[in-house]
């Protein structure tokens, strides 16, 4: 389905699907080691992490966020994103459902060792916070000329 809609961008999602299959296979071999700082499934906000030769991109799916209420820090290869999304309950109404997350959040992501903590860039668009951390120049794969 993604293939047909965004052919240029399908690769990442193919990759997710492949990972999902792999995880399903791994489920048969429980327990497998989880990242020591990883959060339980269902933690808010959901994140996706993708890597390129230039850097690592972290996507936080956090709709209705005030970008000023988000703090991003990188220490060596640990990225911490914390903040709050407050949804004040309306007075004098009847609630049927309250499924949307309201409150504080914090997620810690272990990045590859070769990232440069000084080159971090963050954008917020349509409810997705995208954080790009570049790799150190020396760590980039280089093509060696054969003379």
């Amino acid at each position: 389905m993604f293939e047909s809609l965004f052919s240029g961008e399908s690769r990442l999602f193919d990759e997710f699907r492949r990972m999902e299959r792999q995880m399903d296979e791994m489920l048969g071999r429980w327990p497998w080691p989880a990242g020591i700082r990883s959060a339980a499934r269902g933690a808010y906000p959901p994140i996706n992490v993708g890597a390129t030769a230039d850097g690592v991109d972290i996507y936080l799916f956090a709709a209705g966020l005030d970008p000023k209420a988000v703090e991003i820090s990188v220490q060596q290869n640990l990225l911490t994103v914390s903040g709050s999304r407050q949804i004040p309950a309306k007075e004098g109404v009847d609630y049927y459902r309250q499924e949307r997350y309201s409150g504080e959040f914090r997620r810690v992501i272990t990045l590859p060792d070769d990232v440069d903590p000084d080159r971090v860039d963050a954008r917020y668009r349509d409810g997705v916070l995208q954080i790009t951390v570049k790799r150190r120049e020396t760590a980039k794969p280089r093509r060696i000329e054969v003379k």
């Binding site: 809609l5 499934r41 994140i47 996706n48 890597a51 966020l65 009847d94 609630y95 409810g127």
Partner: protein, 132 residues
């Protein structure tokens, strides 16, 4: 496959066949509340822009659908993924005292707000209790 649910009742996930491949749509979390004027639905649909959002009423079913699009550099490999689909889909059955034709929808920073007004005669009236 269509799936319906009453406003304020239980929910289930949905799997839709697409191109012969089972495709799981994301179930956007919602807040639903009612005041004197009508029912308000708020849904978290991060990554969805206005042109990729559909809010429609078919008979008595309100259908919310959206396609998330995120900017990805060329040649990216996934390291980790909580979100494994880009399609959001959820539907609710409306009741007859609601004015389907007057539904308003608004999208801001991935939060969809839908307002479904009530018919005038369905608005709550205060009943005077008379004393003799």
């Amino acid at each position: 496959m269509t799936e319906k649910q009453e406003v304020a009742s239980a929910k289930t996930g949905e799997v839709r066949p697409a191109d012969g491949q089972p495709e799981t749509a994301l179930y956007p979390p919602v807040d639903i509340y009612e005041d004197a004027d009508g029912i308000h639905v708020q849904a978290d649909m991060p990554g969805v822009s206005r042109d990729r959002l559909t809010v429609q009423v078919d008979r008595d079913t309100l259908l919310i659908e959206g396609e998330a699009k995120i900017q990805m550099p060329e040649g990216m490999n996934a390291l980790y993924a909580d979100v494994r689909s880009t399609r959001y889909r959820r539907s609710f059955t409306l009741s007859s005292e609601l004015r389907f034709e007057a539904i308003e929808a608004n999208l801001k920073d991935g939060v969809l707000s839908v307002r479904i007004p009530k018919r005038e005669e369905a608005k709550p009236r205060r009943i005077e209790v008379k004393t003799q």
